[in-house]
Symmetry: C2
Subunit: 218 residues, 2 copies
């Protein structure tokens, strides 16, 4: 096109291309934002730091995200989108409990390993009592947890797993898998390494699966 001169460097096409470009920039910003929020908390994170890491000015960042709170909520939205997509189809009451539990633990641990910042941002929000995001947790996370707990209870009613407190079983699975993101700094100190290795996550998977299956006797 002849009128390309007034467009940004990488915008070579029409509106589709422009949208793609904007999306790419937003993705860069969000990728840095989740890290900075995880490392410093909401108040401790500064727009300037996020902008600098994403390679633009803070005023320019605020052109894309008009306020810090909107950026933060978008970060949490994306965290939940990713996590819910991974965990959604796992609990099916007709599958073998053993296989479902293995898959569930595996998926949750994989999330902790692949998206530790996402896990940590979410954890920080929950620990603080979810002041900015409680409604979303109530509407999006809690129903999913309850659905999974209901599946556990159906298994118990059908005698397919040992009778345990399904709710606290879910809390236990959540806690153990989540901690490999949230407490990895302390774990690395105990294990005397700079950071957790793939082998550590495999050992974790073995241990957590072993504990859960032993508890429900399958």
């Amino acid at each position: 096109m002849a009128s390309d001169k007034s467009s940004p460097p990488s915008m070579k096409n029409a509106s589709g291309r422009r949208l793609q470009n904007r999306d790419r920039l937003e993705a860069d910003i969000l990728e840095q934002a989740v890290r900075v929020f995880a490392e410093n908390g909401y108040e401790g994170a500064s727009i300037a730091t996020i902008a600098e890491r994403a390679g633009l000015s803070k005023q320019n960042l605020m052109y894309y995200f008009p306020s810090k709170q909107l950026l933060y909520q978008r970060v949490l939205d994306d965290v939940l989108d990713d996590w819910l997509a991974r965990m959604d189809m796992l609990a099916n009451e007709h599958d073998e409990p053993r296989d479902v539990l293995r898959a569930y633990i595996g998926a949750k641990l994989r999330f902790s390993r692949e998206q530790p910042w996402a896990s940590r941002v979410y954890a920080l929000e929950v620990i603080n009592g979810a002041p900015l995001y409680g409604a979303q947790i109530r509407d999006r996370v809690v129903p999913l947890l309850r659905k999974d707990i209901a599946v556990f209870e159906q298994w118990i009613a059908a005698g397919r797993i040992a009778p345990v407190n399904a709710t606290h079983l879910m809390f236990a699975i959540w806690a153990m898998t989540q901690s490999y993101a949230d407490f990895s700094a302390q774990m690395a100190l105990v294990l005397d390494r700079k950071e957790l290795t793939r082998k550590d996550y495999e050992d974790a998977d073995t241990m957590v699966v072993q504990m859960v299956l032993a508890a429900v006797k399958v």
Copy 2:
């Protein structure tokens, strides 16, 4: 005493009494500080809020704690003092593994229930990578965890519990018990109550003990 006039209202005696008074005030400040840090994170917490809740001016607070960072480190010191005192004598290789594990889980869960703010302040620091307190964790917490892990390993070597990865067993116990403080907001949402009850902690204890004992087959 006749010279009481120039002293603070509650100071009725000599230096011993004055010290007691100062200690009392520091304790009030620290009690509020741990809550405010837990609810807002280090950066999100303001000296003014802590001072207001403790019933004094922020300038007056800074007479007792010259800087925010010193106050924060004192809070974490006290958290560790309390926690380490509760957990210290528990792991004795000569006792019955079953009893030691029960006592350990019980003590850690009790700490989550009685000192949720302490748990959360510590968790926030670890999640953020322990930027201000890593050295203390390395020097005070990690050795204790390693000692307990070593006891587990001696039990395994002696055939007193099933062969498991002792380190990850410890991580699992830590994660499950810790989460009843850190994630209680989310748990309360799932359970549809304003906050966790004593009964919830009892159910938690049952579940965690059941999982750990099943995993090590005792």
